[in-house]
Symmetry: C2
Subunit: 361 residues, 2 copies
């Protein structure tokens, strides 16, 4: 079945209503709806409304606290650790990023590790909060273990994304936001819905042999770190994912590696936790703590323009600057609406009924 398209405002209202229905304070429900819908607008369909009922189920399972009292539990002039009090990551993460920005205002850079949180939506939302302050923003998070380290058959890491957002002048900002695996889990979900095979190099079977079955994870298979195999650098993808895991969770006091609680509510978190909740890590760096902002932005324009205008391989229209596709998606979807897969629409309709919230605004 074809996708159905909905106006952004209607979907935003629905998400806001749902977050209020699970007792989020009004301002936090707005924030959560903003973060969630930014994924749908930017074309990261796996991290937007498609996850809303999942958050609600985690709240029902008492694994998400809809009225968290976050607090800073450790700090230096340029650092902090924030306890998310089991809140929605959608709400906890922007609070942490605000602290990083405040610290950067004071001493040039700010770095905040977060424990006791939950899934935070797309990393780009949080990293991009730095941009209006003429700062570089960094956001990363660990996630439920779905990824096998190079040479292993065990799922020990999440898809652990990193985002780096860098301001420019007349050019749009550089925003690189990516899972540290060959393909994000959302890409698999799309193939599952379409009944299509995955390319070799994305997934391995339970015994570590190659697979093209997007449902392989249900049979004990695993996602593969960026690089696909040792010969093509999967140990580098593993290193990246490990780095994100350690910064997000070992620094903060959250669960790491195979101890990270699963996103799905029907699986119980490990009974021997090594920390609290899942972990994130944020950074903000004032550009003018390094060189005058105008100078920096002029050179970013030059950098972006030079790469965008690079000569392409025959048949390829252009070199894509990180952030281009998402910004283009946002511009279109704000006007034309957000297409939702029919399985997502069904899921949201069920959620609307269950919570007695109006869906089609």
């Amino acid at each position: 079945m074809a996708d159905v398209t909905f106006p952004h405002a209607n979907l935003w209202q629905f998400a806001f209503d749902v977050f209020q229905k699970i007792n989020c304070p009004e301002e936090e429900a707005k924030l959560a709806a903003n973060v969630l819908l930014s994924a749908d607008l930017r074309g990261i369909d796996s991290h937007g409304l498609a996850r809303l009922s999942g958050y609600v189920r985690l709240w029902e399972a008492k694994r998400i606290n809809s009225q968290p009292k976050t607090k800073i539990v450790h700090a230096r002039a340029s650092t902090a650790v924030l306890d998310g009090d089991s809140g929605l990551g959608l709400v906890v993460a922007p609070k942490a990023m605000e602290i990083a920005i405040e610290k950067a205002n004071n001493v040039g850079t700010g770095w905040v590790a977060v424990k006791n949180s939950n899934h935070f939506g797309i990393a780009a939302y949080h990293a991009m909060m730095a941009l209006p302050h003429d700062m570089i923003g960094i956001a990363m998070t660990n996630a439920s273990p779905l990824v096998a380290p190079t040479f292993s058959v065990e799922r020990l890491l999440g898809t652990n994304p990193i985002c780096v957002a860098i301001p420019a002048h007349q050019q749009p900002p550089f925003v690189a936001d990516f899972a540290t695996t060959t393909a994000a889990n959302g890409k698999l979900e799309i193939l599952q819905r379409k009944n299509k095979d995955a390319p070799l190099g994305w997934i391995q079977k339970k015994d570590g042999s190659p697979s093209t079955n997007p449902n392989e994870l249900k049979d004990g298979g695993a996602l593969i770190p960026l690089g696909s195999d040792r010969e093509h650098g999967s140990h580098k993808g593993f290193s990246l994912g490990a780095w994100v895991d350690i910064f997000s969770a070992v620094l903060s006091g959250a669960n790491y590696g195979p101890w990270v609680p699963p996103f799905v509510s029907f699986l119980s978190p490990p009974s021997d936790p090594v920390g609290e909740g899942i972990g994130h890590f944020f950074g903000a760096m004032r550009v003018d703590a390094f060189r005058p902002t105008d100078e920096f932005k002029m050179h970013m324009d030059k950098w972006i323009t030079r790469f965008r205008e690079a000569k392409t391989i025959e048949g390829q229209p252009r070199v894509i600057i990180p952030g281009d596709p998402e910004r283009e998606s946002e511009a279109i979807r704000l006007i034309e609406g957000i297409p939702l897969n029919n399985k997502v629409v069904e899921d949201l309709s069920d959620l609307a009924k269950k919570l007695d919230v109006k869906f089609f605004g």
Copy 2:
């Protein structure tokens, strides 16, 4: 011809003598020899003595200043920009890392961007300087353009490595040091010397089509970002390399992208520079700016142990923790000596004659 093995002390002495012969002050010649030999010890043969004559040629071409007066040209409490005064990166980089460590001592983290520098050897040497201080160390650098962005035929980025070094307690530290390409250029050099083909996915021809010829770069070909192709995430490798380029050079005021001066002295730097020399970026984070050091290290031991003991794919002996192979190489080579390829030995003998320095100590 087989490799010849030399005692570490003899090779160190030779490097030290060569650096003194090109007028490096004694302490800086020691430092440069330490950094250079750390590559040979750690098994990163492409970044050790194999590059020594290249540094000398850059000094002869007046592109390396052997008596640099480095200075901090911009700073905040947690940041600095260091002007390397065209010095050897081998000397400038450790100075920058010391500044980062000092700032971290004061405000929790320190971040130093460097301009007007040259090739800095292996990133791991610099990042690992943080470890004895119970800090996490980060080092990255841009480099001569050899890498084509996804969809392009132009060489616009260097292999732009990143290193993250993280202390543990009884376990050795986690040290991930990797080029942001599918394969480092040093890997190609090894294949060239052995007359062997490269795997598909490492290199492209001048027109962007796949190649297995390790000499392809001499015909206008390019290295490929980590991920190998778009379907396997090469846009992520491109994003990583771009991130390193921007932090190292756009933040510091060095040359970026295709304007980075070539390492080889027979190619002239671009005539329209956008900055000064090449750029690096360093970070140091006190672990106890986030949580008590003992607690952090205990959890790092647990992280490392869990991953090291992960169940492997049949036929694979173990999961490799980042830093394991290099540390094992160092332990062996300190005792058994450092094997040098016969072409490298020839090159060093020529250098010894030219500079009237004794080679076989």
